[in-house]
Each structure stands twice: as structure tokens, then as C-alpha cells.
Symmetry: C2
Subunit: 219 residues, 2 copies
């Protein structure tokens, strides 16, 4: 995928962050100011077994949260885009690992003891739980086409674009997120193209031609 060393426009990011999640801006306000570190594509932000406890805010780029089985099969739990917080863990160690997908600017949120802070964290954790539960339905009960439709519909909601999605992750990542193989991802995209629901102008862009039909496919 393309390497994107430069940051996006900061103002746009701040705006989208506020719009997307009031709890995040609250968190940032209460957290200690902290430098943004940049992670090159496919580099680790934290690893399985690393000590947990800190939360991370995506400022630019995309992050994937992954788990692997003993024999190396990978499941991507979630992708995180600018304005989203990740790093939640029940225990003292991370059971999953986080990687930069396409080059990501990450701000560490250092815990500041305070009433509002804990409340925001709980809310974010519950949002994360809700998303994850939703993903269970996708993995457990949806066909390949429905999975892809749900994925694109979700992206469309999170990127407030006019129907032109950017796909920062490669097919392999999408496959591991949807519980498929990358060949199947490729074939399903073709199916959707043939049905005139999407266009693929570039390999990392998808134009949504019929959002309603996609949403119907996976509701």
C-alpha cells in the first residue's frame, strides 16, 4: 500500500474528532499533554504480552488490533482511524497487539486521576465492547458478501466522505478482519463491482455507488 509520511491537515482531524466522540476530546482535555509519535507502516505500537494500562489516540493514519493463533492464523479485531482510542485491556498485559497499518501518528493518553476521566474511559471501553459484539455477528453469521457489505457500510459511516472511501489497509488485512481469505475478498469486490454497487478507481479507494443496497445486504 502507499506510504504516507506526511500528516493530514490538523484542523480537519480535530474537527472530526470532536464530531465523532465527545468523550475523546474530554479525555484529551484531562490527559497530560503528550507528544505525538509516528509509526511507520507495519510497525508495532505494542506487542502481545507488553504491559498494558496506557491508552492511545489515533491522530493520523490507521491502526490494526490483532490476535494470532498458535499456528499463525491472524484475526484482526478492529481498525482504528483518527480520533479513535485503543489500548483497552482487562489484565496487566496486552493479549492483542497493535500495529500501524499505513503510517500512523499516535498520542499516548496518560491517565490523570479524576472523576470525569474514569467516566470517559468507561464510556469508551463500552463503545469498544459494543463494536466488538457487533463484529461477532459478522464473523459468526454472515456470508462473504454480507461481511464485505457490512465492512464498507461501516467505513462509510466512520469516514464522513461523499462516497469515496479510502482503504488504507491491504486485501490481506481486510480478509483477516472479516474472517476470509484475501482471494475471497478480491472475488467479493468483483461481485459488488459487477452488481454496480461499487467502483474501484484505485486499489486503495472504493467508490460507493449504492450505499442503500450495501446497507440492505447486511442489515
Amino acid at each position: 500500500m502507499f506510504i504516507q509520511p506526511s500528516f493530514r491537515h490538523p484542523a480537519a482531524i480535530d474537527a472530526s474528532m470532536r464530531v465523532r466522540n465527545a468523550d475523546v476530546s474530554c479525555l484529551i482535555g484531562e490527559a497530560q499533554a503528550c507528544a505525538i509519535s509516528y509509526y511507520r507502516p507495519d510497525t508495532a505500537i505494542y506487542g502481545q504480552g507488553d504491559p498494558a494500562g496506557t491508552l492511545y489516540l489515533v491522530v493520523t493514519g490507521t491502526v490494526r488490533i490483532c490476535q494470532v493463533t498458535g499456528d499463525g492464523r491472524r484475526q484482526i479485531n478492529s481498525f482504528h482511524f483518527p480520533g479513535e482510542v485503543f489500548g483497552f485491556e482487562a489484565g496487566a498485559e496486552h493479549e492483542s497487539y497493535a500495529e500501524s497499518v499505513d503510517g500512523a501518528g499516535i498520542r499516548v493518553l496518560r491517565p490523570v486521576s479524576g472523576e470525569g476521566f474514569g467516566h470517559s474511559i468507561l464510556k469508551l471501553a463500552l463503545q469498544s465492547l459494543g463494536r466488538t459484539q457487533h463484529h461477532l455477528v459478522l464473523l459468526g453469521r454472515m456470508s462473504a458478501v454480507e461481511k464485505m457489505a457490512a465492512f464498507l457500510t461501516d467505513l462509510l459511516e466512520r469516514q464522513d466522505s461523499d462516497g469515496l472511501l479510502s482503504l488504507p489497509m491491504q486485501r490481506n488485512d481486510i480478509a483477516d478482519y472479516l474472517g476470509l481469505t484475501f482471494e475471497t475478498v478480491s472475488r467479493v469486490l468483483r461481485t459488488l463491482k459487477d452488481r454496480d454497487l461499487i467502483r474501484v478507481p484505485r486499489i486503495d479507494q472504493i467508490e460507493i455507488l449504492d450505499a442503500d443496497a450495501l446497507a440492505t445486504l447486511c442489515e
Copy 2:
């Protein structure tokens, strides 16, 4: 499945609760005393769209948390056994619904504002998140046999029995939890029987003959 109107021995339940999760006993201590209500098998505890906010403690029996697709396919997110807390929701409404599996005694935990209370809730929510994330791997990346092995291994850890598991839920529930059909569940159990990893003395009991082999199957 069998109908079990009588409660189990209260002392045993309290003990297992303390052992299983210190945060729960903390919660109970801080929550207002509240009556235990009994839900007959297959009855709703809360429904999709119901107002969220209260948490529930399983005292006896088993609870399932479910979601359904538009066309009626069901995904069971989790089962909950005595001593476990459920009911977490990010928004104001439940996006999933909870049902008694085999007749369940449930205590409502009314929120008591207080420092320790909020902290315990966060910890429980994060545990719930961790379990759910673990389930993603199962649904997305495991074969039917591995799924069943993981399910049995998980039950074995949560019921601290000597290898004789009680299966309060029926095959259909197991199927919807593992993302399979009930026929496949049945066939997989036969496979494990034929490999001498389990015995099925009764339809609602499974004896684990080789826990290590089962654990190896799904690690």
C-alpha cells in the same frame, strides 16, 4: 433441556463468586441490596431496544446474550454463569438481548455512586471486552473442531469441576455461540468422542477425558 426450579446451594455459589472475581464481590458490597428474581427457561431478562444502564448478576443458572440479523439468524455473544455480571451497553438502549437458558436467578445491581464502584465496573467491562475479543478469533479463524475444543476448554475453566461438565444449553445454543449449525455441533461431538477426548454420559453432560488434548486443539 431439563427444567430446574430449585436453586443451588447458596454457600457454594457465594464461594465460587468470590474465587472467580474479586471485583464482583466488591460490586455487590457497594450495590444496594436487591432481591433475586427467577427467570424460567427461555424467558427474556431484557430485550433489544430496552433501556440500558443496570447491570445484572447471575446467582443461579445460565444466561445467554444474543443478537439477531434482519432475517433471523442468531449469534450468541456469550453465556454467563453464577457469579458473572452482564448487561453492559455503550448507549442508552440494549443492542443485544438477554435470556435465561435453563432457569436463572438474577440479582439486579443498582448503581451506587462511589469511587470504587465505578472502578469495579470498568474492570468488569474490560474483562467482558477481553472475552469478546477472544471470541472473535474463535469465530473468524477456527475450524468447527477447534471451536468446540475451545468452548469445552473454556467451560472447564469456568466451572471448576473435576472434568464433568454440565451443559445447560442445548445444541442449537452452542451452534449459535460457535457460529455453526446444530448438526455440525452434533457431528463434532461425535468426532471428539471417537477420538476418546470426551464422553457424553447424558445429553447435558460432557466428561472431559483429555483436557490437554482439547487445549492443544485450540491454542
